[in-house]
Amino acid sequence: MSVTAADTVVEGCAAAPIGPSYREKDEKPQATVSGKIKFDTVHVLPQTPQLIALLTIIRDKNTQRGDFIFYSNRIIRLLVEEGLNHLPVKEHEVTTPLGRTYAGVRFEGKICGVSIMRAGESMEQGLRDCCRSVRIGKILIQRDEDTSQPKLFYHKLPNDIAERWVLLLDPMNATGGSASMAVEVLKSKGVAEERILFLNLIASPEGLEHFASKFPKLRVITAFIDEGLDDKNYIVPGLGDFGDRHFGTLND
């Protein structure tokens, strides 16, 4: 069975008044918010004014590299924080410095990051900001010039990755092609699909649809579902090539 993006998109991204509940509707500024998609495994960050303002900065072609890195890192931290919320916790009681009992929870389950080279590596700082000494594996997938299909070139992963939860990092989820291949690599190493959290900043409905139907138990966390893909498979309106903008490898 083949589903197309048009079937799964509940609502395309569109302009809407946004802001907190205490503001009157006509006091809320208009801005384009993320589309909505019909998969329970796809989690889109709340479309708050602050998130939209951050996205506006990194989408702007006139934004300088320093700002691009700084503001994208802030979104990445929010993605990581949201991703970590999907990890299991266990009831745990502690005594506070003032001698009271606090009924809290303890983090359960070891984690690791896996970045899809090279753009995914730009998300490692944000991950480390939240998880200090987290192990980070890498997977290099590139498009084969002859077949124009993604091809696995290199991977280096923690030995015990099968026992870990994996935060898979790739900032732009366009067609979902290389990410699917990365997931296949992880699964072949024994990682359970439901223990993979795929974090990206901007996703296309096509990429999400492809991913969600192929890996129904894998969770995707994204900041924004964009309009779609152009004829070169770039996300539009998008923000250009994330890796180039982050690493400064664009022609000046």
Binding site: A15, I18, G19, P20, S21, Y22, P29, Q30, A31, T32, T48, P49, Q50, L51, I52, A53, L55, T56, I57, R59, D60, K61, N62, F70, R74, R77, L78, E81, L84, N85, L87, P88, V89, H92, V94, T95, T96, P97, L98, G99, R100, Y102, G104, V105, R106, F107, D129, C130, R132, D230, Y234, V236, P237, G238, L239, G240, D241, R245
Partner: protein, 445 residues
């Protein structure tokens, strides 16, 4: 119909205790004022000299002044209108800009003022401190320093010759021409307006002792009234539900896990700081959602338009010291170039009343959206004071977001009721106050 309840906060410096000290030139007014300040030994006792309120001179008067022929010792030389206006501001607990007068130029310094804010006791000192009936109405205590005129003359001569570079002849001439006649005509008659006359000025230890005791009693009563009002506010706000302007972070599994690490007394400081900084950047991100944004269209590198948002004005952080300092790392991770103001509030060890010790904010803070930072809200008394200080410095209530790690219900209720436009973002709510500890653990002392 019942009157709607009003939730009002008055800072302890409102209804400032103002003391006027008048007396002849050379009588020792300044020394008495200085002695009172020294004896009270509190940061919020401020002396205001009436020299700051000399009128601006027109060219003709200015010429006379430079020739030593202008009468500075008559009431007409004083700008009582501005003085009354500033005293009213101070009495109302507002910020007052005091002109700076240049004796060299016989003019006010352009674009230069001294700010008086948040003093609990103001000592107004000048030969005509008890002259204008409008000023008299604002004074809580009126003192006349009654020193023998021979001594006054001797002091004045010594001062004029030694520190004002005049010769003895000129100084004597001034005395006979202006000072003495004015004393008889305007200065001495003020004695009938005084509550207390102090013969011999600074040497009169008994009189100064009495005045100090009187002021201390007045301060104690003000402090008690302030605390009582806050307590009353607490009883009433608990029944009032919090409005939308108060946001408590959703207690997600990660957040609960971080709380647990932070609350655990066994957590070492290294971990505590790491997790606190992580949480504080998250809190600042949430607080940023409470700012005002405006629509902004941009073009992406693919030449497509995107209709987005930008923050409507610059952000300024204001740290309530010492404990608010724990948020500085989180703040810089989110708004690295934001201006940072600071105010030091300390709770009085005896009464628990918060006291404003230090204040430094950017001069144009009124154009900013302000993040006010304090990790714990207890009774809310310190928080109320901090918000009031910002408002007195021109920040709109709706442009302030108060950021805290843990707040008591009653503290949140007070803030929310007194400042309904204020936004509050808290990571957790406590049923009852347990004590301040976050800054101690974070800073290690």
């Amino acid at each position: 119909m019942l009157e709607p309840l009003k939730y009002v906060y008055s800072p302890p410096w409102q209804n400032t205790h103002i003391i006027g000290i008048a007396g002849s030139s050379g009588s020792g007014k300044t020394s008495v004022a200085a002695q009172l300040v020294k004896r009270l030994n509190l940061p919020w006792v401020v002396v205001l000299s009436m020299d700051s309120f000399y009128k601006e001179l027109n060219p003709a008067q200015s010429k006379l002044a430079f020739e030593n022929n202008y009468d500075f010792d008559a009431p007409s030389a004083i700008d009582f209108d501005i003085l009354v206006d500033r005293l009213q501001d101070i009495k109302a607990g507002k910020k007052a800009e005091i002109p700076v007068y240049s004796f060299e130029k016989h003019q006010r310094e352009r674009d230069k003022t001294t700010t008086i804010y948040s003093c609990h006791v103001l000592i107004l000192e000048g030969i005509f401190a008890l002259y204008d009936p409008r000023v008299l109405d604002l004074l809580d205590m009126k003192i006349f320093v009654d020193t023998d005129s021979d001594i006054c003359l001797a002091r004045r001569l010594a001062r004029d010759v030694k520190s004002r570079g005049r010769d003895v002849k000129g100084a004597l001439q001034q005395w006979h021409r202006f000072v003495k006649p004015n004393f008889e005509l305007y200065v001495r008659p003020q004695m009938k307006n005084a509550d207390i006359a102090i013969p011999r000025g600074i040497d009169n230890i008994t009189a100064i002792d009495m005045i100090v005791k009187h002021i201390q009693r007045a301060l104690r009563m003000k402090s008690e009234a302030h605390l009582k009002k806050i307590a009353e506010l607490g009883e009433r706000v608990l029944e009032k539900p919090l409005t939308d302007n108060v946001t408590v972070l959703e207690q997600t599994p990660q957040l609960r896990g971080i709380h647990t690490i932070l609350q655990d007394r066994m957590t070492n400081r290294e971990d505590f700081i790491f997790y606190f900084d992580r949480l504080s950047s998250l809190l600042v991100e949430k607080a940023m959602d409470r700012m005002t944004f405006t629509t902004q269209q941009v073009i992406t590198p693919l030449d497509r338009p995107y209709l987005g948002l930008r923050c409507a004005s610059a952000i300024c952080g204001v740290v309530i010291l010492r404990s608010g300092g724990v948020f500085e790392i989180g703040l810089k991770r989110v708004v690295p170039d934001c201006k940072i103001g600071r105010l030091l509030l300390q709770s009085n060890i005896r009464t628990g009343e918060p006291e404003l010790h230090h204040l430094k904010v950017p001069p144009n803070i009124g154009n900013h959206q302000v993040l006010l930072l304090d990790p714990q809200i207890a009774s809310g008394a310190a928080a109320l004071m901090a918000v009031r200080v910002l408002k007195d410095h021109g920040v709109e209530e709706g442009n302030i977001v108060f950021l805290t790690y843990m707040a008591t219900k009653v503290g949140l209720g007070r803030l929310n009721a007194v400042f309904p436009e204020l936004k509050i973002v808290a990571a957790s709510v406590e049923e009852e106050w347990a004590g301040r500890w976050i800054d101690e653990k974070y800073f290690g002392c």
